[in-house]
Amino acid sequence: MDFSYSDEQQMLFDTTRRFIEERCGFEARQKIRRSADGHSLAAWKELADLGLLALNVPESDGGMDGGAIENMLVGQAMGAGLMVEPWLSSAVMATQAIASMASAAQRAEWLPALAAGDLIAVLAHTESHQGDDASSIETTAIADGEHWCISGRKAVVYHAPLAGLILVSARVPAESAEAIALFAVPAGAQGLTLHAYATVDSQRAADLRLDNVQVPAAARIGGDVRLPLQAALDFGLAMLCADAFGALDRVLTATIEYSRSRVQFGVPIGSFQALQHRMADMLIHLEQARSMAYLAASIALDPDAERRGTTLSAAKALIGQAARFVGQQAVQLHGGMGMTDEMPVSHHFRRLLAFELRMGDSDQHLEHYRQQLRAN
């Protein structure tokens, strides 16, 4: 039982946090979200220079082979700093998927480019609001000579408009009714349509439509990827939890500071017991969320898929509930200022809203957890 970080881990966290504060601070972010690109290529390259894009590239592929705790710490800093760069989408989820499923040739083609910041990839799996169960998709791939022909839709794929490579999951009915395959689809492929938009938390995303998109046989990643795909999604979910925890932590700190400085009736509003007790409850939610973020990271690479999935559902549900309570109260305690776009708290609130709905909402994960309840 040990809740401390190694010196290297602490340094990784400090470096990431400092980088975001100095290079991707709130004012810089305000410009980026108004830009056509929706992210900063310069910042992305600097993340590569810091090694943060190689965190999930295995050492044998020239990467850092960072562990779950390292990813958690970076994710926490990203959430606290409201980062809009596609670190979670590309450097965590897509990179993890390629590292765990791709052939040697595919790895050699993509991993160095991903680590260097020359390529952004995203994992396009979810198709509806039904959650992220790896088996819940309808997109289908049919073998056609030397090609695969893919048709279907993907919903709210974060950072897809930024990506050069989109990893699309699909059913392959010719192989079996249950099998799921993964295909690397280049941006701009014929038959691929992106309905792109900005999300409520100022990130770029797209709904994808695939109409007979043709990719060569070599574009298929792995075989029946149900297990490793679920593992990659689970790993991403754990880091999304870390991101949310980082945002929660920051938002409570901001609320406490605001309540100390905001004077009404001649005293700081933080001296009112009604507000003190509200903030005490926010802290309790935050500490419970912190525990679950730690647990999520600790279980993120567990090979037992059922235990991993159940535990992550517990984490997502509880942190989601904390996000709702702490986020709402943070806005409430900031009063009218909490409603304004100029205050970071309103952006953290939006990021927490996105967290609640992404990758299965609290109710879906609570239901998933319920299904494994046993009487003994």
Partner: protein, 399 residues
Amino acid sequence: MDLNYSAADEQFRDEVSGFIASALPAEIRQRAAAGNHSQIRADILRWQNILYQKGWAAPAWPVEFGGTGWSKVQQFIFETECALADAPPQLAFSIKMIGPVLIRYGTPAQQQQFLPGILSGQDWWCQGYSEPGSGSDLASLKMQAVREGNEYVLNGQKIWNTLGQFADWIFCLVRTDSSGKPQRGISFILIDMKSPGITVRPTRLLDGSDEVNEIWFDDVRVPAANLIGEENNGWTYAKFLLGHERTNIAGIGSSKRALRRLKQAAGDLHKAGRPLIEDRQFGLKLAQLEIELLALEITNMRVIVADAEKRTPGPEASILKIRGTEIAQRISELRLEAYGISALACAAESALAGLSDADAVVGAQSRAGADYLNLRKLSIFGGSNEIQRNIIAQMILGL
């Protein structure tokens, strides 16, 4: 970072659970499991003596005073395993409260007089803190102690005294000076419950239990040698004691046991022809509770590990107290919902009505109702949850 117990700790857990399985008398376990308090003094003291024989009488005490030398994590494992095995809890007033105060602030003579009886389970201690006018505002207490030669003469009243009807000794906060700040004139004194002038009257509670008492002190004479530390410095010792009271305040073990029992009941009980545990609405509430308890266990471990270097737990214990009691109360609510209308049959009320063998009239569902009522106390005692929120706001948030 590693959230798993070490191999040594897992081995320790096996050793503890193995010992409890072999050493805990079946009738004590059955009474504890059933919530039957009819033999509570005998059961708790007998179990204490069994632990004493094993050398486990006071896990948290320094080894030279009869402690175990266990780490805080091991102490947590021990308490959790005891709760899960339906062992009666050790008497907190003895082991967790007055013991550490005697060790920290007592004279060698006081230590020699009192510690052996605490360790062996010979003596039963109780606490005299609250008074009719002094609850959350404890420092306003009025019970008087006046020095006369080598004695103090005590007059006043204590309330909410838990299980004092069984006590050999009581430790009390008393007023020895009214001139300055309220905290400055309080003293900490040990009183033999057989002293002339003490009257104990049980307070019947809403669940029919009489686990708390009012105690009157009418010219009770106590040797001055029974004063702890310095006169008028009792508030310091009281705060030290409250810190110790809160080390296991989350009640993880007992909530785990209660949740396990609730799930078993939900497997046996039926709703619309199916086991209740398969009912979606009930299952979601159960899932929610289990998740919150899981998170609290980790939060508790974080506090324990962070506190390991300190002598007393910090204000983070308030987080554990609030969430731990909320979860325990919530489990009792779900248990009530599980039994539904049949939880209304009440053994205590039936006994009051003169029905013979009231316990036999109603079954396990009776305890569901009684427990729900009884556990309202959790968010009130030991510093109400509102006081805990004040502590969090002031000590952690700096407001």
